[in-house]
């Protein structure tokens, strides 16, 4: 199940997805570090590192936000009219941020 590649629409969906991800990721990163401080746990070796379950939570939140945004803008129906179902819409939203998470994962290991 691949991404959607359409003029205007793909770039808009991906851009919104990346903005949502940056915001949610920052909140989760700060929240994780505050929680670790409160619980007196050992801090992570890199400030951007968060638990795998937190990464999954970030992806899920971004997917929900993206879905709501697409519905509010009627993009979901237009894309459906072109034969792109929900799975393709989610792939378009999540593939770029999954790659961004992988890039962070690699960067914090270096």
């Amino acid at each position: 199940m691949g991404m959607i590649f359409l003029p205007h629409f793909t770039s808009s969906i991906v851009a919104r997805s990346l903005v949502s991800w940056a915001f949610v990721r920052a909140l989760v990163t700060v929240g994780s570090s505050a929680l670790e401080g409160a619980l007196r746990l050992a801090p992570p070796d890199h400030p951007l590192r968060i638990a795998p379950v937190a990464v999954l939570a970030v992806l899920a939140i971004v997917a929900v936000l993206g879905r709501v945004s697409a519905r509010r803008r009627n993009e979901d129906l237009f894309l459906l009219s072109l034969g792109y179902g929900r799975a393709r819409l989610f792939a378009t939203m999540l593939v770029p941020i999954t790659l961004a998470e992988l890039a962070i994962g690699i960067a914090v290991r270096l």
């Binding site: 003029p7 205007h8 629409f9 237009f78 459906l80 009219s81 072109l82 034969g83 179902g85």
Partner: protein, 233 residues
């Protein structure tokens, strides 16, 4: 004329209320089928089921002999285009031209300039769809459908809220699509326009469909006259 899209034995219940019990209709290539009936009889539900947007409790939908019940993306990919009445398919943040760019990128170029001219929306192509009026929006949606060149168009209440001149334009566009081989299905209560554009009429009543035949036969049906059109017997 062969059936392009067929919905058979379709039933759907919402919150314990059976909107459709056993409905059947076909959309034939080159013909306009009018789906008429009182409010709440399930016209929009039947169209959404035919487009795959709603899964029926029972029954099935076939496109070109292939069962695709409840599979909207595949139905759309294979040529079914639905214009719903309760939502718009145009995104408010994009212009009509941008929508058409996307349609052409996906399905190849249609005769965009001629379509926009025919529907009187050429001057609106660079405006954001969120700024279009109701009538402009309806014609803009139809232009997207025409550039898509679907095998089957399901237009739910395409004449609703349109002034006579725009309704004429929409009516001519629907007839043009049918003449080009598209199976067109329309619904609505604007009987002058709906019956004028229709080749055949299907009446939805008590959860089921009644094929009334050609337009002239339909308007002569005493029961249809009495219970829907409201004319004295």
């Amino acid at each position: 004329m062969s059936a392009v899209l067929r919905a058979d034995s379709v039933g759907k219940t919402f919150d314990g209320r059976a909107v459709l019990a056993s409905a059947y209709f076909e959309a034939r290539a080159g013909a306009v089928t009018a789906l008429v009936g009182r409010n709440g009889t399930g016209k929009s539900t039947l169209m959404k089921i035919a487009a795959g947007w709603i899964r029926p409790d029972h029954g099935f939908v076939e496109l070109g002999g292939r069962r695709l019940t409840g599979r909207p993306a595949e139905l759309a990919r294979r040529g079914v285009f639905h214009l719903p009445v309760d939502r718009t398919i145009l995104s408010r943040d994009f212009t009509l031209a941008q929508h058409l760019d996307a349609v052409e990128a996906r399905f190849g170029g249609g005769d965009r300039a001629a379509v926009l001219e025919r529907l009187g929306v050429a001057h609106l192509a660079t405006q954001r769809c969120g700024s279009l009026s109701g009538g402009e929006h309806r014609r803009a949606e139809l232009s997207v459908a025409m550039v898509r060149r679907p095998k089957c168009l399901l237009a739910d209440e395409p004449f609703r809220g349109l002034p006579p001149r725009d309704a004429d334009t929409v009516s001519a566009a629907l007839r043009g699509m049918a003449a080009a081989g598209c199976a067109v299905v329309v619904s609505g209560h604007e009987m002058g326009w709906v019956l004028n554009v229709a080749d055949e009429v299907v009446w939805l009543r008590d959860g089921t469909t009644h094929a009334l035949g050609a337009r002239d036969d339909a308007v002569r049906d005493w029961r249809f006259q009495r219970e829907y059109l409201g004319k004295p017997r």
